[in-house]
Symmetry: C2
Subunit: 240 residues, 2 copies
């Protein structure tokens, strides 16, 4: 293999990493904007956010195409192959984060006129800030190849789960207090669930970074695993 | 390349396909059992279903490890590479289906003692049967490499979305009628949403089969795309 080909492969790996970083930036922005649209009942921002998700989908296709092309053309081995596989996996998680955030923006349009939702939406806003930080930190750990930072994100996911549990109970209480609260509370319930799911995808990305750096899958059970399996009926249930 | 290596690679591809089929069978069973546990308030079945998801997770790891090993060792090109990439993508969708079904089983435990949930759960059961059929058909289309059948599954997803919309409204009505219905209705709302998401994953698999057979991504917009973006507040919102 000539020096030229090696350099070119490195360029492709760099291009892949840049696309992941750009995709991650978009996903962070869609989450922040969707939550802001929900809190301010800003229909115009919600609409822009819904449309912005397209760019994330486009980037996922581009990353996947480049990754498959690289495998076919370069036939990478070991760490190089892991880089390419990791890019496919991370872009798939970022695409789902975009979808979940977009769904929050759609709910912002749906509950537009209901002012009773304001207080309840504050909890969603707090959750969203934590999720944004998780997403930012895990993307930084990808750029810096910092496994310890990725593991911090992985361990901190329980914080989001705890907030989700608390918001879930708060929203149930609103619904029971006044039936007029039921519709918007239901939408906020799904919004909170979406942010909890976004946290899970950040955790997935942390696991991929672990695999990328060590070559082994992370076998340790997730911190929150089954924490809510046998809880009373008014507790939320985790997805994993 | 010797005859021996070609045969062995074919064997690996067959092993991959068999593991996908097995994983798909498990995912179907977890969905059916979780819904039955919900309908019959069968806590013992719910517990078995929650534990059965582990086998799906194990199979996903095995498929991914074999797929990466095959890429590294065999350096497949074109259609062969697509087979391996498709296996990774399909196993990832099946793993999510297992998680979503497991979450329904957890809710079956949570709403165990609430008899008011019986009628509402019938709609969930109908949805689950449709989702099971979608999953079965898309797995058959994978085994038979039948793109037309995969496209049928893809187009039929709107049926599940319509059922979800109907159940969503029904459950909101229950909640408004009697505050004692709120807790179980919320759990059933998430169960219905999970089945709708399972349908989306069957649709993803259909798209992967299209890519596998044609070498091109399916660019056509999904049938349900944005159908509920601007609907009134008591309508559910799609995730995509």
């Amino acid at each position: 293999m000539t020096e030229h080909i090696v350099t070119s492969y490195d360029d492709e790996l760099k291009a892949l990493a840049i696309m992941i970083t750009r995709m991650g930036g978009h996903a962070e922005k869609v989450l922040t904007d969707a939550t802001q649209a929900l809190n301010r009942h800003d229909e115009e921002l919600a609409m822009r956010t819904i449309n912005a998700d397209e760019e994330i989908d486009r980037l996922e296709h581009e990353i996947e195409e480049l990754a498959i092309l690289m495998i076919a053309k370069r036939q990478p081995m070991a760490a190089d192959l892991r880089e390419v596989i990791a890019a496919i996996k991370i872009s798939s998680d970022l695409e789902r984060i975009g979808d979940l955030a977009k769904n929050i923006a759609k709910r912002a349009v749906a509950i537009q006129s209901e002012t009773g939702a304001v207080k309840a939406a504050l909890g969603i806003d707090r959750m969203s800030r934590i999720a944004s930080r998780q997403l930012k930190d895990v993307l930084d750990s990808y750029t810096q190849r910092d496994v310890d930072k990725a593991m911090d994100v992985w361990h901190r996911d329980s914080e989001l789960d705890a907030m989700y549990t608390s918001i879930f109970r708060e929203l149930l209480t609103y619904m029971m207090e006044d039936t007029r609260n039921i519709t918007f509370s239901t939408h906020l319930l799904f919004a909170a669930k979406n942010i909890e799911r976004i946290g899970d995808h950040a955790t997935n990305i942390a696991e991929t970074i672990y695999y990328l750096s060590t070559g082994a899958p992370l076998r340790e059970a997730r911190p929150k695993k089954d924490a809510s399996s046998f809880t009373p009926a008014d507790y939320p249930q985790t997805d994993d």
